[in-house]
């Protein structure tokens, strides 16, 4: 491997490099500037913008970095990865902004350097997760994300629920990644390679011991399933989402999940694919019945998420369950095993990212002021804070998936994919689920607008910048709900996975 080749590969990982540099810079600045931490977020934002710039460049790419002798690389630079990295950067930008505003984070001012560094560690890990094509890299990037998030979940240390969340997260995450690693080791034993492309060509050409293979596949899925919080690997989600600082919850629910889904799609598509037929359906190696698996999983996940959410009084926790349910909807897109399904996932995810960030932002703003995330404390908020109320309403309606919000477009594309695949029953289940989902979303709206405040009104002002950010998040939801061509175009351009 010559140096030129290495340098060429480095060109392909410019976004990762940008993030890595920013990370180093953050550490340095934190060291140098001492107690003046004000610059940190701006450095972070600058780093993210640089990464975003490089990511946009990646939409045209289609190549492998760090190619080995057998011509199979470790990192893929393709539009698909670019899209999910874009989502991560998008989410990170907002999360950084949220962090500036969050009272929770402000409280531990002296550790801000640590905070942003860890966030960048997570971002870096996610970037690699999204673009990795080698099991080794996958595992390590996954752990990178996990470790950073363990610490971030317990960032405020003094808060009781923070620490508890961190402990649960670390144990749960450790076990999940341990199981996944065991799966990887078995897969390695069967195929003799850790490179997904190599494994793919191997399982297509030679006979593979069935049961062992299934075992390894499913064990590996445990790690991914835990990241995307698919049932039955979701148990950490509500506790950690509730316990973690709200900025981190938002980050986990969007960016971490994005990385997880990118990994899932890439893993399934690269490893198991035989061919893509003209209608866009994936013909998989029939070692594992992934279709049934995903159908099964998505039904459980969305049903469980929705039904459990019915009972939540803590809005953060409710949103945690709702994010589980949304993972279920996204898995529907997987179950179709087609390009359509993938487009649907991409569209859905883009919408979900905006919406969820917005929802958490409102929750944060309110929690900053009233110090509660309890739904019952939101009574009458829509009157005293119409702007916040209406924004939250828009986000929740979009999460429910009603027109004319973008959430509807996401659901629409999912159902289009399902109906096209003739999976009507699944579509009906999903639709009924979305009716169930309405219960708990509408309950929040009810408290916002229909109930009268229990004790006094909420006297506080939404600052201009916060208002602007809210508009930035809410406006696209309405606009994309009415004119969604750009969204679909983006999805279409993003579905290109290297090699297929």
């Amino acid at each position: 491997m010559n140096v030129d080749y290495l340098v060429n590969s480095l060109y392909l990982i410019k976004p990762e490099l940008a993030i890595a540099s920013a990370l180093v810079l953050l550490v340095l600045i934190d060291l140098i500037m001492g107690n003046n931490k004000k610059f940190l977020p701006y450095v972070a934002i600058a780093g993210l913008i640089a990464a975003a710039y490089f990511i946009i460049g990646q939409f045209g790419m289609n190549s492998l970095a760090f190619v080995s002798k057998s011509n199979k690389g470790m990192i893929i630079a393709d539009p698909f990865g670019a899209f999910f990295k874009g989502i991560v950067v998008f989410a990170s930008l907002f999360v950084v902004y949220f962090s500036i505003k969050s009272d929770e984070i402000k409280a531990s001012f002296e550790r801000h350097g640590e905070y942003y560094t860890l966030i960048f560690g997570m971002i870096l890990g996610m970037f690699f997760m999204i673009s990795a094509s080698d099991l080794i890299l996958i595992y390590i990037s996954l752990e990178l994300v996990s470790f950073s998030s363990y610490v971030l979940a317990g960032f405020t240390k003094t808060a009781l629920r923070n620490s508890e969340a961190a402990l649960k997260y670390v144990i749960y995450g450790g076990v999940s990644s341990g199981i996944m690693l065991f799966g990887i080791s078995i897969l390695y034993g069967i195929t003799g390679s850790t490179n997904l492309y190599e494994i793919n060509s191997l399982i297509q050409s030679s006979s593979i011991p069935n049961l062992t293979f299934i075992l390894s596949g499913i064990l590996i899925f445990v790690g991914i399933g835990y990241k995307i919080s698919a049932a039955p690997f979701h148990f950490w989600t509500p506790d950690v989402y509730e316990g973690a600082p709200i900025t981190i919850t938002a980050f986990l629910s969007v960016a971490s999940k994005a990385a997880g889904f990118a990994l899932l799609i890439r893993f399934i598509k690269i490893t198991f694919i035989k061919s893509v037929d003209s209608a866009g359906y994936w013909q998989l190696v029939d070692l594992i019945d992934w279709k049934t698996f995903f159908i099964f999983l998505s039904i459980i996940t969305m049903t469980l998420g929705n039904f459990a959410a019915l009972w939540q009084d803590n809005l953060k926790r409710m949103l945690a369950y709702s994010s589980i349910a949304h993972a279920g909807y996204l898995l529907l897109g997987m179950a179709v095993l087609s390009n359509q399904g993938m487009i649907a996932i991409i569209i859905y995810f883009a919408v979900y990212a905006i919406t969820n960030l917005g929802a958490f932002f409102v929750v944060m703003l309110i929690a900053n002021k009233i110090g509660s995330e309890n739904i019952d404390d939101y009574k009458g908020l829509g009157y005293s804070q119409p702007f916040l109320g209406v924004s939250l309403a828009i986000f929740l309606i979009s999460l429910t998936g009603l027109p004319p919000t973008a959430g509807f477009i996401g659901k629409l594309y999912l159902f289009i994919a399902l109906v096209d695949a003739k999976m009507i029953t699944l579509a009906v289940i999903a639709l009924l689920n979305s009716v169930v989902a309405l219960y708990y979303y509408i309950r929040v709206l009810k408290n916002l607008f229909l109930s009268r405040p229990a004790n006094g009104t909420f006297e506080f002002k939404v600052s201009f910048s916060n208002g602007l950010v809210l508009v930035l998040l809410a406006a696209p939801i309405i606009i994309l709900g009415i004119y969604f061509t750009p969204l679909v175009d983006l999805a279409k351009n993003s579905m290109q996975i290297l090699g297929f």
Partner: protein, 534 residues
Amino acid sequence: MGNFPILSFITFLPIAGMIIILLLPKAQTLAMKSITLIITGIQVILAGFLLYHYNYGMGGINNPATFQYIEKFRWIEITGFSWIGKIKIDYFLGIDGLSIPMVLLTAIISFIATLASWKIDKAVKGYFALYLLLVTGMMGVFVALDFFLFYVFWELMLLPMYFLIGIWGGPRREYAAIKFFLYTLLGSVFILLVVIGLYFSTMETLVDGSKVFTFNMLSMMDTHNFVANGILSPMNPHNLRLIAYIALFIGFAIKIPMFPFHTWLPDAHVEAPTAISVILAGVLLKMGTYGILRVCYPVFPDITLKLVWWIGAFGMINIIYGALCAMAQKDFKKLIAYSSVSHMGFVMLGMASLNTIGISGAVLQMFNHGTITAMLFIIVGVIYDRAHTREIDAFGGLATQMPIYTGFVTLAFFAAIGLPGLSGFISESFVFLGGFAFETIRVITVISTLGLLLGAGYMLWTLQRIYLGTVPEKWKLLKDLDFREYAMLVPLSVIIIFLGVYPSFMLNLMNSSVNSMVKFMMDSRALYSSITGF
């Protein structure tokens, strides 16, 4: 004014009004009310304009060339390599004889309901903003010809309605609002599924000869556009048309509301403020029957022909069941709500007749019920504003106390029981004549005539209990109508009498379309049997 996009204008004008209202300071309540009034007033004028230039000879239904005021341009178009690349959604508006009565009705009722909202004093800004949004949604449903667009409008009015009931309603408003919301959402998810199914079963040929899947309702009505193996294509031997039809029908039936999906209606009405009840009964219920006529019938003529007995039978159940339930009510508003259930049964019965007279009767009944029930709810509102109770037994002798009001009440009640000379008569008669002419539902029709008796029964009984007799001491201070109430009741009365004396005004309007519909249904019988044959 040839190219003036009048339908877009009439549909989206309220949105403009909504934005203006949102920009106004909170205290300017009078300005908000006036703006709403002006906007809805302009809508009435525009609807009048539509009517004035309407070409009576054009049939519509399934032929895009015979729709009027068409506005069609590409809304969403995505080109690409696989199927999903070629998605296209049109912004496609147009009206025919089925929709123009509904557009008129929506405009008129919105205007009158604005007046009925005049006394709203709680969160006025939000109220009128939501109200105008609702009006857009309703108007949109009646002018959209693209199924996707139709669905978007359909859902669009859901949330404003939820809040309008939930915030400005009566004591159990939250319960009623959520019930309304859940029921209708449940209905609309079924509709959505069928929309997608139809999307995958129909392909439209573009100008350049290429074929794309389409949401265009009119293309879905043409059997040539079905793809061979679409799940809802009649030529596919394993098609799911029956199931899809039932799902779609239930989706619409919840709005009608058809027994046994009607239970949201009494609650919603009882809790909703007067203006919203007026809108709800006056316009929203019509969406269900309109949807069935606009979509279920021409897109699934084969299944419609199969299930028409059931439609008629449910119509009959609605008529009789609604009337009997109304009879037992103690709450005036609930009684009127159940009477709506009963009256909408006539619409279903008329639709089931599948002939010109019956369907004309059904459409006319939709319009008439809209005006009559609006009036009835205003009447309830008038008394509730004054007495703050709707308990029927708490009243008596109001005819002495409020003679002019009672005059209007009498007119509205008589219209509701189908008294000749008032609009309800001719539509109900047409429904019966049409139903009787169709052998399949003849017996049902005859049984349904019982509804005439029961309707008269509960209406007159109510009239007696509230208005006749002697005035209890505590109501001796009630005032007769004020100017605003005149302004609401007089136009409706005029419409009711005018259409009673000269029903041709409406019937001519819809004649061509209804004929096209009937012809289309009749032709389909042979057409579809030949298609499913191979």
